[in-house]
Symmetry: C2
Subunit: 157 residues, 2 copies
Amino acid sequence: MADLRRPERTYTIRQLCIEFKVTPRALRFYEDKGLLSPAREGLNRVYNYRDRARLTLILRGKRVGLSLAEIREILELYRVEDGGVAQSAKMLKKFSERIVTLEAQREDIDHAIESLRDACKHLEARLAKTAPDMLPQAVNYDQALRARLDGVHEFAK
Amino acid sequence: MADLRRPERTYTIRQLCIEFKVTPRALRFYEDKGLLSPAREGLNRVYNYRDRARLTLILRGKRVGLSLAEIREILELYRVEDGGVAQSAKMLKKFSERIVTLEAQREDIDHAIESLRDACKHLEARLAKTAPDMLPQAVNYDQALRARLDGVHEFAK
DNA sequence: CTCAAGCTTGACGTTTACGTCAACGTGACC
DNA sequence: GGTCACGTTGACGTAAACGTCAAGCTTGAG
């Protein structure tokens, strides 16, 4: 059976939407904003391997709090020799700054995780005392963990 | 000289705004949304030590991508015994899920940082070859680093 | 007393990132 | 040949998180 992700493979808008759990509207929006530019087959959009890779980067960027405009700037670096020297210098500066803010953000996240873990411990202790029968709810934690290890990001509601 | 952050100290809205680099509008907005509830002196808001601590948490939450509504939920945990057992169980679940997403986010950030570092290296190499005189721009990186170590987050524009 | 500084409460505007129709085209079945 | 399923392009709506006035109170300096 052929690899569904082999480089020559193409995707319809719906296929990408399902894979990345986004809506067609979102993909068209990214296109409007210049973050994607899939080929056309008649009217229909045809996404290729590189479009898919870009989408991966777009969504990752979003998850770390970048705006679409910022993501666009970053993606444009990968356009070969897009700008002159001045452009490169500007980019270098921007990227450096961005790295610093991301590192700060990582510290914030570490703090937040720690706080939440602490809060969980307190909650668990409280539940263990007053209502041990409610503790199976804590199974959700393991569920989430397993899901994460499997690369699945859908949790039971 | 008295410690400007001693527990009994109070703050005007402007003082907090300057310290945390936010606008009065933002603080009033957070109040509208139930995240803050400073005392009043006549009409004027008077923030105390705990209000200031809450604001720290609010901004940290924002930096890691939480919505104000989510931050509000988390802050309410710290209201003593606010809910019954069911409430605690619900919170435990929510917090556990949040921890998982934050850990994923941290990985995203690590990836992003790595990518950006890589991009910077390429840019630097390119500049070193074509226009070594533009490289002093890279000083911005050190500037940013120093600023960060000093706890200052304002960069030259 | 006046007047500016700093606070207040509305109330409307703005940006970002889409959601949600409406109206239409185009194969592929039955 | 009707009718899905899936695609398209507008165009308008929306939620979050404030920005930006307008209009008014209060209080200390001159």
